[in-house]
């Protein structure tokens, strides 16, 4: 009898646990319903509330700016509620993609330009609605932005972004005092030095005590695939190469790639660069552990804070002596709207993006993000306003004019990883051609999947 009672009790307990696990917690706050408008539970308005999920990475200074803009938008759009979700920068794109795969994708989100082919392939981004930006046509919308800044977001005659949250290029940032100590004049601002000259300068700037490198001449994050592309792709293009051939296949064994990799190997052999000494791009530079780095406009404000006494300046991104054309890099984070969202949510989302892109001053002053949407601040065009905050920025802005966005491929991550692994092997002294042949075989396999 006892056993039967115990069995009944245990079964009841399990059933209760299962039921409670299946049911929504009564005391939990209302979960936003993604994809469908819901009726407001409070307030006097009887209009349905549209809930938008807005996802960004969690760069700390950007969070309060996003929150302030959300509050402003909600104040003027009482029928819209924005749920703000920010995730760690590392693997942020994967989080967005897995959210979409799970049917919980955001309505508005940040992502890098390199994601566009994959987004288009998966049909998760919507073409822009120009009317949300106060213009009638897509051409008029494009005219709101810096020329060429939206190129990476175009496909099939449509533009798939509402604007750029962070518009970047790379220039050469150098320690003026370190150059002076080595008997080198400050670098010209009106023309790029050559990569060959840079190799010589970087070698002379490296300071060694015995076998220990106390200061390395030139540095960048050698293990971060996107940096591999951003640094080496302009070099490749200057030599007349392109990673992706017109047939859409990667080519790691082309002559310009061999030349670029050979150049990097020589840099390493001369101790002008040393991946082992790298800890943090800006900290290493600010603390004098590296004499030159590559960086964009985002580097300016942190460097001034990290070491206010550091005497540094900016030079244009170098180019090869025999360059076929002057090429720098371009990359951007942008605001996208989900094609999976309902039409009314998309409309609200584009209006929200319109507000986000019109806060150029806040994005610069509080986050350090350069914007591509034209405007005047304090009676000055945007770039003049930026330069007024730090005249060194003029050199970086000159580099934008020669910028090209990264290669387009749905296999971006895989190819950039292959490129980085090849680079690292070459820097350890392996034979350039055999490493690149391996890379080519891996790239070919990646593309056939």
């Amino acid at each position: 009898m006892k056993t039967r009672v115990s069995a009944t009790l245990v079964l009841s307990l399990i059933l209760a646990l299962l039921l409670s696990a299946c049911a929504s917690p009564a005391a939990a706050p209302a979960t936003p319903t993604i994809g469908t408008p819901s009726t407001p539970t409070t307030g006097t308005s009887s209009a349905p509330t549209i809930e938008l999920l807005y996802m960004t990475h969690n760069h700390a200074p950007s969070i309060p700016v996003n929150e302030a803009i959300i509050a402003e938008f909600e104040a003027t759009h009482p029928n819209v509620k924005i749920i703000f979700d920010n995730a760690p920068h590392a693997n942020f794109e994967q989080k967005v993609l897995t959210a979409f795969a799970g049917g919980q994708g955001p309505d508005v989100f940040w992502a890098g330009d390199w994601m566009v082919p994959q987004f288009l392939d998966s049909g998760i981004i919507a073409p822009v609605d120009p009317t949300a930006f106060g213009v009638a046509t897509q051409d008029e919308f494009e005219a709101l932005f810096e020329p060429g800044s939206l190129d990476a977001f175009k496909a099939n005659g449509k533009i798939y972004t509402g604007g750029i949250s962070e518009y970047n290029t790379f220039s050469l940032i150098y320690n003026v005092d370190a150059l002076k100590e080595a008997g080198i004049k400050p670098l010209p601002k009106d023309r790029p030095i050559t990569w060959e000259e840079l190799a010589d300068i970087a070698t002379r700037l490296t300071v060694k005590e015995g076998d220990v490198i106390k200061r390395v001449g030139l540095s960048w994050p050698f293990n971060v695939p996107i940096w591999t592309v951003l640094i080496q792709e302009p070099m490749l293009r200057q030599k007349g190469g392109e990673l992706i051939t017109p047939e859409g296949m990667p080519d790691f064994t082309q002559e310009p790639m061999v030349a670029v990799m050979t150049y990097l190997q020589k840099l390493r052999q001369a101790d002008a660069i040393d991946p082992a000494t790298y800890t943090d791009l800006l900290q290493d530079f600010a603390n004098g552990r590296s004499a030159m780095i590559f960086g964009g406009p985002w580097a300016v404000a942190p460097l001034k804070t990290m070491n206010p006494n550091l005497n540094w300046d900016i030079a244009p991104l170098p180019q090869f002596a025999n360059a076929k054309e002057r090429v720098t890099t371009l990359y951007a984070w942008a605001w996208f709207v989900s094609a999976k969202s309902s039409p009314e949510k998309q409309k609200a989302a584009w209006e929200f993006v319109n507000l986000l892109t019109s806060k150029q001053k806040e994005w610069w002053e509080k986050v350090g993000y350069v914007q591509a949407r034209k405007t005047e601040i304090d009676g000055k065009p945007l770039r003049e306003y930026y330069i007024q905050t730090d005249p060194r920025l003029a050199t970086i802005f000159a580099d934008y004019a020669y910028g090209k966005f990264e290669f387009r491929s749905t296999k971006y991550f895989e190819l950039s990883d292959i490129w980085t692994r090849a680079q690292n092997r070459i820097l350890t002294g392996e034979d350039v051609m055999s490493v690149l042949r391996d890379a080519q075989a891996q790239a070919k396999a990646a593309m056939t999947d």
């Binding site: 392939d121 998966s122 040393d274």
Partner: protein
Amino acid sequence: MFGTPQEQNLRHQSFHQRRRGILGNTLEARKKRLGLVFALPAFLFFGAFYLYPLFQTFYVSLFSWGLLDDPKFLGMTNYSRLFTDKEFINSVWVSFLYSFGVVIPIWFIALGLALIFNRTFPGRQAYLTVYYIPAVISLTVWSLIWLLMYNPTFGIFSVAARALGITGLRMLDDPSTAMPAMIILSIWKGTPVYMVIFIAGLRAIPNDYYEAAQIDGANAAQCLLYITLPLLRPVFLYVMVISIIEAFKVFTPMYILTNGGPGSATRVLSMFIFQNGFQYLKMGYASAASVIFLLILLALAIIQFRLLRFQQND
């Protein structure tokens, strides 16, 4: 083919006894049913969180699937591709190299420390606490600390090496030293956990055996060889199986210190699977690699059980 009539009858009886054993109305039958009820949550948990994902992984491995597109059936193509993929073969090799490079020293160091800490001596508890500290530090924090320790300019290893007259030590930057660097930090991190398991095993050995052996004139080495080690066999088996599985699953140190590099020198299997699955969105391919990973671990566990002739009554 079906045995003699007597054997058939016995089998028939046995079946009905078993059936009655579960479904009957005896006290024993009710107890068995209650036992099943108690075990049900564990079965449900195991089924939902282990068996279902396991079968799902195998199912996905038969497809080409990028998370956001429709899966395309490939059959065993992902598996055949894996066996010709140099990066996958390298990852398997790197995983073996790392795992056995870590676990073999751990077994001996952990056992040695356990034997030391199983005795009483002044400051024993304090030493034990200090030795256990690495085990309670998060692996991410541990990896970041070692990243600085391996720095060729100011890292403690380079400084110590220079003091000994060894120059040019670049632990993480050199393909020949990157894996030993990973192995050293993992041995340091993993040893305390297994040391505690060995101590628990040692304390479970009745003191009577040692007393009897001493009366028979056995010395310390003989006690170790003929009492301690044989009686620790089940613990040793547990440590071997768990440590090898844990070592094969390693991911964090490689992700933080080298990102699998230089080249692919530290690109272990779990990193290969992570990159293919969550960075390249090749879910089918990553699932196939995961199935192979599982089979490798399964084979290793079986070999270990066989080697130690593990029996249920151990």
